[in-house]
Symmetry: C2
Subunit: 371 residues, 2 copies
């Protein structure tokens, strides 16, 4: 893209809110310069465009001084996933491929192919934040970038999990990429900007507004290969991100929790309706994301049990030994249709293994052997 295209995109970003689909669709269709020209030709919008052009030039200069770059379609580091927004339609009339992304930090955005969004409630429980941190650490350690929104609760835990294994992470903000929101995350955001990237569609200096949180969520979904929702109450903003992920055909995953915990209710709803698949750990997230054969996950198995080491005959006999009352070896033999001697021998072998007990009233299972 030319510098004039880049500047036209910054100018348009000064004129409309992020995610104004009518505008973004036109830009995707005919290009930013053409859209800007036509706005400049309209008497109604002409003065506003002229002012925005001045502001945009100033934005670019001051942002560059502050270490921000404005990444636009066509740039080498433009993350291809964002282009899927062109056909994903609107949610509450918002959507579209962003004009560009303001980026602060060394991580190139094209490194986000195969990245994972980990999002959830601000009002998270310790259960949720512990899990978000663990899953983020596992995913980051496997070489996938963790993307989140730098909010309190799950977002923060996800970023910290990636940081804890020395991996870069990406925060997508609703305010400008040079701003800090929430204020108490200043240190976290400084660290992310130093090692990963802080990203925003909003003009530098722009404030966090509700509309910007919603449009920001579509970027988190589009930038990543899959979204993991850790805790989300029934009307949580994280479900907006989940909605975008589903719409964009990204992998959508949910971590269950106690059904008695309100912050898990939204996640359970996602799983119940089939929108999200259930995951309980980082390796399971990697399995869902991974190409066939990649990240093969061993199915969880119970601990090996003494039973597994038995011969077929021993197992046959063991299965016929009563749990509570004693039985003679003859009656056990009868039940299973095995010879009396063979049955008795097997019972003795099982006794040596501590699995059955012989008593005055006959043979019975040793305590808990039947569990």
């Amino acid at each position: 893209m030319t510098d004039s295209d880049r500047l036209a995109r910054i100018t348009l970003g000064r004129i409309v809110e992020p995610g104004r689909l009518s505008m973004l669709g036109a830009v995707t269709e005919v290009g930013a310069l053409t859209v800007l020209d036509s706005l400049r030709d309209e008497p109604e919008t002409r003065s506003r465009v002229l002012q925005a052009e001045v502001d945009a030039q100033r934005d670019l200069e001051s942002a560059t001084r502050a270490g921000l770059r404005f990444v636009v379609p066509g740039d080498a580091e433009w993350p291809a996933g964002l282009d899927d927004l062109a056909h994903a339609g609107p949610v509450q009339e918002r959507g579209g491929v962003p004009l560009g992304l303001w980026v602060r930090g060394p991580l190139r955005l094209d490194a986000l192919a195969g990245s994972v969004a980990i999002v959830g409630s601000r009002a998270a429980t310790t259960y949720g934040t512990d899990l978000a941190r663990e899953i983020a650490a596992d995913v980051a350690e496997a070489g996938r970038v963790v993307v989140s929104g730098a909010a309190y609760g799950i977002d923060q835990a996800a970023h910290r999990g990636a940081v804890s294994v020395g991996a870069p992470t990406v925060a997508v903000l609703a305010c400008g990429a040079d701003s800090v929101y929430p204020p108490r995350h200043a240190d976290l955001l400084a660290h992310i900007a130093a090692e990963g990237a802080v990203v925003s569609e909003t003009v530098p200096g722009g404030a966090a507004m509700r509309v910007r949180f919603l449009t920001r969520n579509r970027l988190i979904a589009a930038l990543t290969g899959g979204t993991v929702v850790v805790e989300a109450a029934v009307r949580s903003g994280a479900l907006n991100t989940a909605n975008w992920a589903a719409r964009l055909n990204r992998h959508l995953m949910g971590v269950p929790g106690p059904v008695t915990s309100a912050p898990s209710a939204g996640v359970h709803q996602l799983i119940r309706t089939g929108a999200a698949s259930l995951v309980t750990s980082g390796p399971e997230v990697l399995e869902v994301l991974g190409a066939a054969g990649e990240h093969l996950l061993e199915r969880p198995r119970g601990r090996d049990r003494p039973r597994d080491a038995l011969t077929d005959r021993q197992r046959l006999v063991l299965d016929a030994v009563p749990v509570a009352r004693g039985a003679t070896s003859a009656s056990i033999a009868r039940v299973i249709g095995l010879g009396a001697d063979a049955t008795h021998t097997a019972l003795l072998e099982l006794e040596v293994r501590g699995m059955v007990e012989g008593g005055v009233d006959g043979w019975r299972l040793a305590a808990l052997a039947h569990d």
Copy 2:
């Protein structure tokens, strides 16, 4: 069925273990009398058959005196669901339509159409038993019979939940229907036998053995319209019941729990693989079981929020008010492309509702209004 057929079935039950598929398949195919005749003609099995016939006559008489009845295919109360076992194939070489069911209690087994199995770990947590009890109470109150296995933990809680709303419940035992296992559930089983039914495929007086637990589980799945697994470790017997439910095309449901809780791991695996659907409450269980239109469940919604009562214009303005820093009404008007007066009016309306605050540095969202 004739009395001689009934007696032939009891006799065959004396000769082979419950769930011996080769035998049960033959009985379903050619009838109990024919199978018994052919065994009586074999020199190898003749003496055993003759003895079993004597025992069977005695079984029937003493069981009748003890208030047990032997329900066989063709009886008016024969539960049709059991016939599905004819085509469900074996699990670990066990399966098949049972020869008959010994029943103690007033509940007719044909009342089990639309019943629900609630099963799970013996080593359950309080979380699990509380939920099992609540779900069982909800389901029983909706007129569906709760079926379980009378074991410690989830089974017990399920039975008690049904009892708590004065509903009959059915216990399917691995030992004889006249026996008590586990011994500490004597009172519970006495109550179930008085109000509902205690059921077993095992001959009266028969002991609880491992093989009988496994074959019992197929009956729990086959007798019911759906199985709910509340807690089940990765190698729990409840997963055997779940396996049978899936095989029999019954609804299979799982209640999630903390992913950090081992007794929930088996349930999560069932949901994750798509074998079970996730349910979190009795109404959700009823929704899964219900025919279309029946038990319509209102989707959980977050509490109504003040935002819902706003006009479109008020919402538009609210969405453009910064979260953290103040903004002038003129700058807000510019962002949303609305007239300054209309914007200012909307801001005042929002202030009256306590949703925004005007200050020396302009307008900002009231605390927590952005949640």
